[in-house]
Symmetry: C3
Subunit: 230 residues, 3 copies
């Protein structure tokens, strides 16, 4: 089920039952696992490995029930030497850097950018229009809401959650996710409210609920999160 116009490099290893649609571009020395699906025009850099049962380059749903997206969406691009796990779903319109790791069961929507050498842990879900810097770590089961920014070297512990809709659909407003400056560290299971800005190198304790902006070089803990000594 490979479209006749797609060029498969001799160096490629393609699994059983893989589906590759028209216009897909494949670099050298790639590996695609069994039953994975590459939608039209997806661009896979050289040395990329993709696991089994993954779905790359999905066109967004058009539904009256969710936010409308750009119809002229660009293809999904995956930079060279990156690894994509098993059971992963990546949408069209997103750009993944080089040498990054997207672990198994991850889901990433459209218009997301992820920088080089970043690690996205198992089961992480990332909504549309978010931007994640270089050499970040986003641990297992984190939820990154839409319109979120993580600068470089940010660390999110496991199961961190966020929100971007302060009024929970009761008012029509522009939605804003959190903004995390460089080298911010967020503890396991913390919650970040819509639009909060966390200054460079600050640290949020495990289980904290961040309801306000936090300056640089600060440690906060608790619900609501307040400044404390280490």
């Amino acid at each position: 089920m490979i479209h006749p116009n797609v060029r498969i490099p001799a160096s490629a290893s393609i699994g059983h039952g893989v589906i590759i649609e028209e216009g897909v571009q494949l670099g050298e020395n790639i590996q695609i696992g069994h039953y994975s699906i590459l939608h039209a025009h997806t661009i896979i850099g050289s040395g990329v490995r993709v696991g089994h049962h993954s779905i790359l380059g999905v066109k967004p749903h058009h539904s009256p029930l969710i936010r409308e997206v750009d119809q002229q969406i660009s293809p999904l691009r995956i930079g060279s030497n990156s690894t994509i796990g098993h059971h992963v779903t990546l949408y069209a319109g997103s750009t993944m850097g080089q040498q990054l790791l997207i672990a198994d069961h991850v889901h990433i929507r459209e218009q997301v950018e992820i920088g080089d050498k970043t690690v996205i842990g198992r089961g992480v879900m990332i909504e549309l229009n978010s931007r994640i810097g270089k050499q970040c770590t986003v641990q297992t089961l984190c939820y990154i809401t839409g319109d979120t920014i993580l600068e470089d070297h940010v660390f999110l512990g496991p199961a961190v959650a966020m929100a971007n809709d302060k009024y929970m659909k009761t008012v029509a407003i522009a939605m804003t996710g959190p903004y995390l400056e460089q080298s911010v560290r967020i503890g396991s299971h913390a919650t970040l409210l819509p639009g909060v800005r966390i200054g460079a190198r600050s640290m949020v304790g495990a289980g904290a609920v961040v309801t306000r902006n936090i300056p640089a070089d600060t440690v906060v803990m608790g619900n609501p999160a307040r400044e404390r000594g280490m």
Copy 2:
């Protein structure tokens, strides 16, 4: 791998490697993605779209380790013009309304009812015997426990969790999930304890832990959640 007794409408678009078992009923203008599996007797309304690698109409496991379920389970029904994403697992015995959206990586067990035009976000898990009303929004990675009721127009932010077993398996009791009256709004990462009832239009702040009933038109926050001004 389509059972010879199943009628495939000429208007249907069926992906590669799809498996359709006996007695499945398919409406007009449906789309089924690659490698999806439709178990016996599943009923798919007209205009329904199903993504890739999804599994519909699973018969519940019978295991001495988990709660026993009705052996005479009815088929899974999906109402017309609904969209089901990729990597989704839906069990037999549940009924999905019309024009709803069940996003990618969702898992819904048996005996669940979901109303028309409701949105179930990515990676949401819904346990058995729960009932979700019309035009609700259940955002990404929420966990809806068994025996839960959401009336119409309820909003759950991302990663809300619930429980239905007050005694954590130390006592044999009837289990009860939360009961959310109409237009309740729950903030991101909040926790709802077994059997709590939340009155109409009330709002629970992000990261709150709800341990008691909440009257209508009330705002609560914190751990444990207490009433506060907006």
Copy 3:
């Protein structure tokens, strides 16, 4: 796509499109669902049932971005009469007991041991080097970090999270997950910090954040968790 050297017992039921690599050992009366993949040398006990689209015996990724693992990893072993769900990913090097239940969408990494008759709920993610005892219950969407120990009869409610890296990658130290003694019960959405030890039969309330060791037979609640009456 079954390797010619693998012996398929006459009593086995093997789904459509299943891939079985060399050296896989299959017991009597097993069932393997459609499109599931059994990597080389995986050992499946008699009476085991595996769902659809599951991937068993994955070799760990080798990446400079994540912790290095033993190159000489042993095969995945699944004990007799255990049930593995749909869309599950299990890594090589782990050992699953007998008569256990691993529900749909679960992900378990390498070097994990799980005891007999334990239930691992839907969407649970378990990191490397963890050990879970017999007759435990780990409910839906829990996150079990690396280097964690659960003794026998432990109960984790839904969406419990943990961490094992106190310094969030700022210092190179040996990582330690929580240690839960026998019959500990953890409420829904609780958070356990790195290295905490929870004494036998103690109970942690829903949404609590456990930052210190807890003695046996104690009840704690809140953020941070402190001792309270029931």
